[in-house]
Symmetry: D3
Subunit: 132 residues, 6 copies
């Protein structure tokens, strides 16, 4: 199995609902360093997993649509705890949509899986992994 | 599949038995930076994998029970080579016990796997992965 | 010259005033990984720069007083752009106060400088350096 | 499942053929930081995954056979795009050959898998994973 | 003293002249992860060291003018060993020119120093520091 | 001012004397990732700060003379707290001796300073800086 990973980041405000979150129930914020991994069992005709330029570009576009805002005010996330693990899924699903709609090029049709890791600090990170 | 990882560290002395260990047969030491990963297929009702505060706290307690000592003198490890990979299993198993006994909260009942990685230097690390 | 550095982090929301900040004028957030460095020309009687346990403890206390909040609502920062470089100075000055009031132990009287670096992402960080 | 990873690096020139590579069609170069992971379900009689000294030595030998050259001039890679993901496979396969020929010691017979990750920058890396 | 650092990277081929370079006399290549630091004693009216958006943009432009090429073929570097330390100076000087010509904004007039670090691998890096 | 840094590591056991050390008064251990920086105002005739191959080799030799042992048993350190900051000085001074005796090549005569940083964990490191 082959994979390629590209990195970008988002900077957001948000708050959580539920006693389990302790002080994070208050409005606070985070930088999430975002690693997006694309997987496939065999390389394509160019000997690659995915066009890394397009992968970086599409990840940047998705991060741009999430960054520099208060996630509590986003209609997409109304009533939802935007935990690190949940946001990993949001980004993975949006990347999967890009793959399906051809945004990562024709070669990306051979991709079989995506995973996304969000680093919230030097001591904590979360991931979501899915098939394509 | 979702996961959350938290990081802590231990600082220990130990020695190894067996020619394969070369100079490490002598008493020496290591800092192990410890990454503990918790896995589950679906998020819980709070939209998380595990209470990250409790995860950090329990990992800290386990690290506290191993750190600042000579592992050669610990009865738990009598006659055992406390290799990096073996210590990864020790910590993963102790975390699994914590999950089973409720130390990571009721929500942690949905966890299905744990893996632990110990970084012994900038050029070597070891992992152990198990089901719950 | 000797130095010792310890690391912690804060997670905050804030917004900026001024066209130079572009999209960061909107309420957003950041994780700042905080590195605090203590300097002195000679080691103390214990052969150290500073009690590293106390240094970690006091840095944690200062980070605790800043984290998990919206800095726009803090009276200390009313009307101030809480840029990364400014926050580095805030933390350095608070550490300097701790040194002066004995919070880092008697040995810390020999410290001659402090610097603080705040990492806001994998591609940007800021520092402030001062004498004691 | 247990694993051990060791790190080394190579510094190479190369160029790519195909429009998908954009500016990388020109002769350029890369440092690849190479992480080689060895896997097995149970530890050996010495309580380890693999002789880490031999693992570092064999990885160094393989890296030495690739580094400080223009891959476009290597007969092994004639007419091949030496992408990061392809080179990960090259190194993993060469390590697998070493395991098979006894270069990693008798204990290495219990290894069941190898994966190799090549970091080409702080924002991109690629991996290849195979069974033994 | 305050500073802000931004990161980008270049991927180049080159060779060196001189026995001191050993195997690096052959055409090879490197990824240089580039950290550019801007310094000043006091913050500007916006409470910052430099417009970080412009800093990233100008660093990207300078990296773009160096990356994806064989430095041996660049007229700027004819007959010059493009060592890591030398390239750090090239980038620092080009950034200094940008500051002087207003490319980093009017506020950048208060900058007093620049340093650039190029990481060539996980075990080696080089820096150049200059006044403005 | 130019600098070049190379990295290696040591793995040692030791204990400390003095209440300030808390639990670290017991025999324990550490991995110290060692960064050695060489400084000079102008590059040499080869356009470099120092022969990086020799720098890595000499640092490796010095690390080899410290690693895989219990520092409490070393006559060089009898009655001395081998703190991270102290060990940074030990390594810097040994490197300075190598420079003086020609071990880093004739070009190294132009070096004006050395600093050494020892990383003891992901949250603590110490440095020593000296002139040549």
């Amino acid at each position: 199995m082959f994979s390629v990973t590209v990195r970008d980041h988002i900077m957001v405000a948000h708050s959580f609902t539920g006693e389990v979150f302790g002080p994070a129930q208050k409005l606070h914020g985070a930088t999430f360093v975002v690693d997006a991994t694309f997987r496939r069992p065999e390389l394509d005709d160019d000997n690659i997993v995915v066009d890394i330029g397009l992968a970086l570009e599409e990840l940047r576009a998705i991060c741009g649509g999430l960054s520099y805002r208060n996630l509590d005010d986003e209609s997409d996330f109304a009533g939802i705890n935007t935990s690190t693990e949940f946001l990993a899924k949001v980004i993975a699903d949006r990347l999967a949509d890009k793959v399906a709609s051809g945004g990562l090029g024709a070669g990306a049709a051979g991709l079989t899986g995506i995973s996304v890791t969000l680093h919230e600090s030097h001591v904590a990170w979360a991931s979501y992994e899915r098939a394509l």
